[in-house]
C-alpha cells in the first residue's frame, strides 16, 4: 500500500504544480512565493521578535488550515469535473489508497510548507538580525507547531475531502470550504468579543503556567477526535458506485 500511496501523492503534487502554468510556474507560485512570504518576508520584518513571540506557535499551528483549504476543493470534485475519476476508480488502486493518498498529499504540502517556513524563518531572522547567539524558537513552540500543524492539516484535508466528495463541482466545494473557514474565524472572533469578562478571566489560568500543557493536550485530543471522525466520514462516503453515479 505504501508504494501506491507514494504514486497517488506523486500524481497529486504534479497536478498541483502543473495547475499553475507548468512545473516552473507551479514551483514558484505553490512553493517559492509562500515560503518567501512566510519564511523570509514576515520573519525579516518582525526581526528577533518573530522567534520569541507566542503568536508564532498560535499562528503557525493553524497555517496549514488556510493552505490546504485553498486546494482541497479540487481533489475529488476536480477529478469528477475533468472526467478522470472513473478511470482512476477502474484501476487496481483500492478505495483507501486513493483517499489516503490524496489526504497525504494535502497534509504533506500544508504541513511541509508550515515546517519549511518555520525553518526558513529561523534562518532568515538569524541572517538579518545577527546577534552573539543563534536565535531559536523554544522547544515548546516547535513542539506545538509540529503537533498542532499536523492535526490542523489533517482537519483541513479530511474535512475538505469530505466536502469535495459530496460536492457537485469544484466551485461548490470551494464555496463550502470558504464558508466553513469564515464561520470558524467569525466564531472565534465573536466568542472573544461576546464572552463575559468573568469567563475570560476564568480561562486565563488554563493558558498560563503549568496548566498550559494540560490545556494544549486537551485541545490536541479534541482535534484528534475531530480528525478521526472526519476521516471515518470520508471513508464511509468514498464508495465507488456513488462516486461514479453522482
Amino acid at each position: 500500500m505504501f508504494a501506491d500511496l507514494v504514486t497517488v501523492i506523486w500524481k497529486e503534487w504534479k497536478e498541483l504544480l502543473l495547475s499553475r502554468g507548468g512545473l516552473r510556474g507551479g514551483l514558484i507560485s505553490a512553493v517559492v512565493i509562500p515560503l518567501g512570504m512566510l519564511g523570509v518576508y514576515l520573519p525579516w520584518q518582525n526581526g528577533a521578535d518573530w522567534v520569541s513571540t507566542p503568536l508564532l506557535a498560535a499562528g503557525w499551528s493553524w497555517l496549514p488550515l488556510l493552505i490546504i483549504l485553498g486546494l482541497v476543493a479540487d481533489s475529488f470534485a476536480g477529478e469528477r469535473e475533468r472526467k478522470t475519476l472513473e478511470t482512476l476508480l477502474a484501476s487496481r488502486l483500492s478505495d483507501r489508497t486513493i483517499l489516503f493518498g490524496k489526504m497525504a498529499a494535502l497534509v504533506g504540502y500544508g504541513w511541509g510548507l508550515t515546517l519549511g517556513s518555520l525553518l526558513l524563518g529561523t534562518l532568515t531572522v538569524n541572517l538579518t538580525h545577527r546577534g552573539p547567539q543563534w536565535l531559536l524558537p523554544g522547544a515548546h513552540t516547535v513542539a506545538v507547531i509540529v503537533v498542532f500543524g499536523l492535526l490542523t492539516s489533517l482537519l483541513a484535508a479530511a474535512g475538505g475531502l469530505l466536502v469535495s466528495l459530496r460536492a457537485s463541482s469544484v466551485r461548490q466545494a470551494a464555496q463550502i470550504n470558504s464558508l466553513a473557514l469564515l464561520a470558524l474565524i467569525l466564531g472565534a472572533v465573536s466568542a472573544g468579543k461576546l464572552m463575559p469578562a468573568q469567563w475570560k478571566a476564568s480561562l486565563v489560568p488554563a493558558f498560563t503556567g503549568p496548566n498550559l500543557l494540560r490545556t494544549e493536550l486537551a485541545i490536541a485530543a479534541a482535534l484528534l477526535a475531530l480528525d478521526a471522525a472526519l476521516v471515518a466520514a470520508a471513508m464511509a462516503r468514498f464508495q465507488r458506485a456513488r462516486l461514479i453515479l453522482d
Binding site: T7, R82, T87, R92
Partner: protein, 315 residues
C-alpha cells in the same frame, strides 16, 4: 472448450424504477473482440461498470476471468484494462506522465515500465509528442493514448466503451486499425461497446445486440445476418417489374419488390444471390450494385421488432 473470459447470468441493474440492464446473459470467449451493440441509453456503459465491479448488480451475477464481480472486483480490475466513456487522461500531464502514472499504479518495474511506454507510444505514432501536455492534442490522439494506457500492464481483458465516438472518420479508422492490431498482437480479449455497426462488423468476432437493457441477439455477425433473414438490394438499369414474378417463384426468395428503382429481395436462409443475379441479367437488366444486408440492417430490424413487441418500454 476454453472457459469464457466474461460470463453474465441474468445480470440486472435498476436505478430506482428504471431498469438499465435486464436479465443479461452472455459469454465472451478468450482472445475475441466482442462487440456490445445498442442505441444510446441501452445499458452498455452500465454493463461495463458492472463487469468492472464499479457498480453492483441489482440481480443476477457476472464473472470476469473467473472472478465474481461482487466479491472479487479488485482482482478483476487488477487484470483488466479500461477505456471508459471519457478518455480519463490528465490533460495537464504529458503523454509520458499519463502513462508513467498508470505504469506506477500497475506496479510495473521502472525499467520495464519505460520500455513498455516507449513501445506503445512508438506503435501508436505518439512517441515524438510524448513531452507535450495532452490537453493540446486532438481527440483522436487522446483516444490512442487512452488505449495505450489501457494496454500498458498487458491486461487479460480490455473494456472499451465507444472508443471511436466523436472521432472524425479518418481518426476513427486509424484507431480501429490500431485496436485490431494491438488486440491481435497482445492476445487480449476485448469487450467493445459501440453503436457504430460498421465498426463492429470490421472488428468483432462476436456481437450482442441490446436495447432498453434487454439482449436481443448474440452471435457472429454472419450468424446474426442469417438469423434475421437475408436481405439484398440490387440496383441497375432495365430492372423491369415483369421480373418480379419470376423472382418470387424461386424457392429461395420470400419476397421481391422494386422501390425507388432498386430491387429489394428478402431471401430464405441459405439462399445464394448469384443465380438470382444471372436471372436478372438474362431478363435484360444491367446490374450496377448488389448489396447484401449489413449488420446495420440486422440491428435496425432487431430494434424495430423489439419496439413492436414492447411499445411501452419499462425504461
Amino acid at each position: 472448450m476454453s472457459q469464457p473470459v466474461i460470463r453474465t447470468e441474468a445480470l440486472t441493474r435498476d436505478f430506482g424504477s428504471l431498469r438499465a440492464v435486464d436479465s443479461l446473459s452472455i459469454e465472451v470467449r478468450p482472445g475475441t473482440i466482442f462487440g456490445f451493440l445498442g442505441p444510446n441509453g441501452s445499458g452498455k456503459t452500465t454493463t461495463i461498470r458492472m463487469l468492472l465491479g464499479l457498480l453492483e448488480p441489482s440481480a443476477g451475477r457476472a464473472e470476469v476471468l473467473g472472478c465474481d464481480t461482487r466479491t472479487h472486483s479488485d482482482e478483476i480490475r487488477l487484470r483488466s484494462g479500461a477505456l471508459l466513456e471519457h478518455h480519463g487522461l490528465y490533460e495537464r500531464f504529458s503523454a509520458w506522465d499519463n502513462l508513467e502514472f498508470y505504469g506506477r499504479i500497475w506496479r510495473l518495474p521502472r525499467r520495464s515500465r519505460r520500455e513498455r511506454i516507449e513501445e506503445l507510444l512508438r506503435r501508436l505514432g505518439l512517441w515524438e509528442r510524448r513531452r507535450e501536455s495532452v490537453g493540446r492534442w486532438s481527440r483522436g490522439m487522446k483516444q490512442k493514448l487512452a488505449v495505450a494506457r489501457a494496454l500498458l500492464h498487458r491486461p487479460a481483458v480490455l473494456f472499451l466503451d465507444e472508443p471511436t465516438a466523436g472521432l472524425d472518420p479518418v481518426a476513427a479508422a486509424a484507431l480501429r486499425e490500431d485496436l485490431a492490431a494491438l488486440a491481435r498482437q497482445e492476445g487480449v480479449t476485448v469487450f467493445l461497446t459501440t453503436h457504430n455497426l460498421a465498426e463492429a462488423e470490421k472488428l468483432c468476432q462476436a456481437v450482442a445486440v441490446i436495447s432498453a437493457g434487454r439482449l436481443l441477439a448474440v452471435g457472429h455477425p454472419d450468424e446474426l445476418r442469417a438469423r434475421a433473414g437475408l436481405r439484398a438490394e440490387i440496383s441497375g438499369r432495365n430492372i423491369r417489374p415483369s421480373v418480379l414474378e419470376a423472382l418470387s417463384a424461386r424457392a429461395e426468395v420470400s419476397a421481391a419488390q422494386i422501390r425507388d428503382g432498386r430491387l429489394s429481395l428478402e431471401l430464405r436462409p441459405g439462399a445464394e444471390l448469384a443465380p438470382l443475379v444471372s436471372l436478372l441479367v438474362a431478363a435484360g437488366a444491367e446490374i450496377e450494385e448488389v448489396r447484401r444486408a449489413s449488420l446495420e440492417d440486422v440491428f435496425l430490424t432487431l430494434i424495430e421488432e423489439e419496439q413492436r413487441c414492447s411499445p411501452i418500454s419499462s425504461r
